[in-house]
């Protein structure tokens, strides 16, 4: 699976890790990853350690997640981006919408 999810120990954080390319082909798996059984989730982490590339459609998907997680009240961290991915996020001013580490 290119998209894997796991829970933090206290169960309040869901971590979504994307492997390889994050583009339209990941859409369904990514949507499933945040929609399924997520009633109790308070915090979100998108782990990009193994993400090699991110395109504009993935930016749209991140925004969908943000709205799903509560819009402006959402707590979403995007972690471990490589420099290419980080650059795309920076160019699109996503730092203003997500906490990028």
């Amino acid at each position: 699976m290119p998209v894997n999810t796991r829970r933090s120990e206290d169960g309040e954080t869901r971590i979504i890790a994307i492997e390889g390319r994050f583009d339209f082909s990941t859409h369904q798996a990514f949507r499933d990853a945040y929609e399924k059984d997520s009633e109790d989730v308070l915090y979100w982490v998108v782990d990009m350690s193994d993400t090699s590339y991110l395109d504009s459609s993935a930016l749209g998907m991140l925004l969908l997640l943000r709205d799903f997680a509560g819009g402006d009240k959402a707590s979403i961290r995007i972690e471990n981006c490589n420099s290419d991915v980080r650059r795309i996020l920076a160019i699109s001013n996503f730092e203003q919408l997500f906490s990028i580490r």
Binding site: D23, H27, S57, M61, L64
Partner: protein, 578 residues
């Protein structure tokens, strides 16, 4: 008792001044099939030993001229490394005298009167011991010889290895390192290479396993590291290529723990990647230090499509030092079996005075700790001092010029037609064409993004006529992509997407023009950009292209985009991180 009971006749020297005893023993031994010579005293025995060199010697203890114990001592001395069993013939029976025989170098004694059965058994036993000793000696000599040969071969191999995997710019003034000349056969590697635009790449690595396999694995690592770095590739690209190569060539279970650092003196930053090596450190001028822990799997483990190389970036100042090492440092043991470990390392770093090189102090302490002053074969340590000026700048003029190598002026047209659009992406191919220009390799990520956004727009909006307005929520996204899949299966023959690439080289950089035309109806760009209310989920591709390039224009119909991408030598390397 017949001769056939004795498969191995021995050459036996006997010495006894008693004629009767000597004759009896000679008769017994001859009958058992051995070749026997006899002497009447110790002196005669010694002379006979020298001229005849028997397999074993049987000596009476008390003899005129030279007694048995002294003869035994001299025979043993003459025999040197050869095992020549000496057996005393004696009618003595007190323990003290018997012990004295053995002290003199005798191996055993035979009590008089003789018992042929005992004699035969003893000779058999000593013959086995003698032959075992011979075998051991022969094998030891063989091993010694082979080992010398191996060491010689390693020295030659090392010379060969150095020609391919030279140490690059490790000899610049601000680098101090320790690596055994034969460290490559312990699986350790240490490379440094200047980058065309200034600064350098460093690689410290440790292959699992020792000896030849590790050395062979290190060759492609050196070739890729030096080749790609001097052509201007960024750290992440070099790491990806290294990993891909090692995954392919290394047997399962073998891999390379590595620390990769990209050093930029001009803009004063470090980008680092640690896959499986002990923590590296940034030693700050104020005495504090930052650990650079391993965050990734080693090279050669993950399949290429799963391998990402996120490099962490650190700002540095002149006076800061970067310290890297392989695990030989932490695994050093004291004579009592204690590990040097992270505590040992921390203590050394705490004790270091500012002007002191961490490499020198660490080596000094490790030698003290292990109690061995020489044996530092498996230690590889490197420290790099951040300086005001680029230490390899003088070397980089030629390298900078090399960024201007490759095809300078060229153009190409590549068109994908009809149903091929559903099954084939031209993007890797187009990127590959662009990367033939050495100076553009630094820009592979933005160029790929531009190509990919252009292509997706042309395909989804132009050819497949999918409206971005559908992407108005989760359901819209799903509908959009389901429809994309469906329409792709049904692309008519008249459809196409055409790329035209053009490149020209200037004095200090170049210009790449990318045109992408599709067979669609075209779209109204103004409307596309202002159509949605506020920040929609779609429409991020075009702004992305605009920010990455110098210029983006559409033709009137809106089915042909032209992107101008200018690149300068000066912004090579840094441009990607701004």
């Amino acid at each position: 008792m017949t001769d056939s009971a004795h498969p191995r006749p021995l050459r036996l020297l006997i010495a006894d001044d008693s004629n009767t005893d000597r004759l009896i023993l000679e008769a017994i031994l001859s009958r058992q099939g051995h070749d026997v010579r006899a002497a009447e005293d110790g002196q005669a025995a010694l002379e006979l030993y020298e001229s005849w060199s028997p397999d074993m010697v049987l000596l009476d203890v008390m003899m005129p001229r030279l007694d048995g114990t002294e003869a035994a001592r001299r025979i043993k001395a003459l025999a040197g490394e050869r095992l020549v069993p000496v057996i005393f013939l004696t009618s003595l029976s007190d323990a003290g005298s018997l012990a004295q025989c053995l002290d003199a170098g005798g191996d055993d004694f035979l009590p008089k009167p003789y018992n042929p059965v005992i004699i035969q058994a003893k000779l058999g036993a000593f013959d086995r011991m003698r032959r075992m000793h011979e075998t051991l000696t022969r094998q030891r000599d063989l091993i010694r010889e082979r080992n010398e040969q191996l060491l010689e071969e390693q020295v030659t191999a090392r010379r060969l290895f150095d020609n391919i995997a030279h140490t690059g710019c490790l000899d610049v003034a601000n680098i101090r390192y320790h690596a055994s000349p034969l460290s490559i056969f312990n699986g350790d590697i240490l490379f440094a290479c200047p980058r065309p635009a200034g600064g350098m790449h460093l690689l410290v690595g440790d292959f699992t396993g020792h000896g030849l396999p590790a050395a062979i694995g290190a060759l492609p690592v050196a070739e890729i590291f030096y080749g790609m770095t001097s052509k201007g590739f960024a750290g992440d690209d070099v790491l990806k290529e290294l990993n891909q190569k090692l995954v392919r060539i290394l047997p399962t279970g073998m891999f390379c723990c590595a620390f990769f650092a990209e050093v930029n003196f001009r803009d004063r930053y470090l980008r680092v990647w640690n896959g499986g090596l002990p923590d590296g450190f940034i030693l700050r001028g104020d005495g504090s230090r930052e650990p650079l822990a391993s965050t990734s799997l080693p090279l050669g483990v993950l399949a290429p499509e799963r391998f990402a190389a996120p490099m962490a970036e650190y700002t540095v100042c002149p006076g800061d030092q970067l310290l890297l090492m392989t695990d030989g440092v932490l695994e050093t043991t004291s004579p009592d079996g204690d590990w040097f470990g992270e505590e040992g390392l921390a203590r050394v770093l705490d004790d270091r005075r500012r002007e002191q090189s961490p490499v020198d102090l660490l080596l000094e302490r490790i030698r003290l700790f292990s109690g061995r002053s020489e044996d530092t074969d498996d230690l590889t340590i490197l420290a790099l001092r951040i300086t005001d000026h680029d230490p390899v700048a003088s070397q980089t003029l030629a390298a900078t010029q090399s960024a201007l190598t490759g095809p300078a002026a060229w153009s190409c047209r590549y068109q994908v037609d009809g149903e091929t659009l559903a099954r084939f992406s031209p993007l890797p191919l187009l990127l590959h064409v662009c990367m033939a220009v050495a100076g553009l390799r630094q820009h592979s990520a933005p160029i790929y993004t531009i190509l990919s956004e252009l292509y997706n727009n042309a395909l989804e909006h132009g050819v497949l006529e999918l409206p971005s307005s559908w992407k108005d929520g989760p359901e819209g996204f799903s509908r959009y992509y389901a429809e994309r899949e469906k329409r792709l299966g049904d692309v008519g023959e008249e459809h196409y997407i055409r790329f035209e690439l053009e490149h020209r080289l200037g004095a200090s950089g170049g210009r790449l023009v990318i045109r992408c035309r599709d067979s669609g109806e075209g779209f109204d760009r103004e409307q596309a950009l202002t159509g949605g209310d506020g920040p929609g989920y779609a429409g991020r591709g075009i702004p992305l292209i605009e920010k990455l390039s110098s210029d983006l224009t559409y033709n009137k119909q809106g089915n042909c985009a032209e992107v101008v991408y200018d690149w300068e030598l000066a912004d090579v390397g840094r441009s990607q991180d701004q």
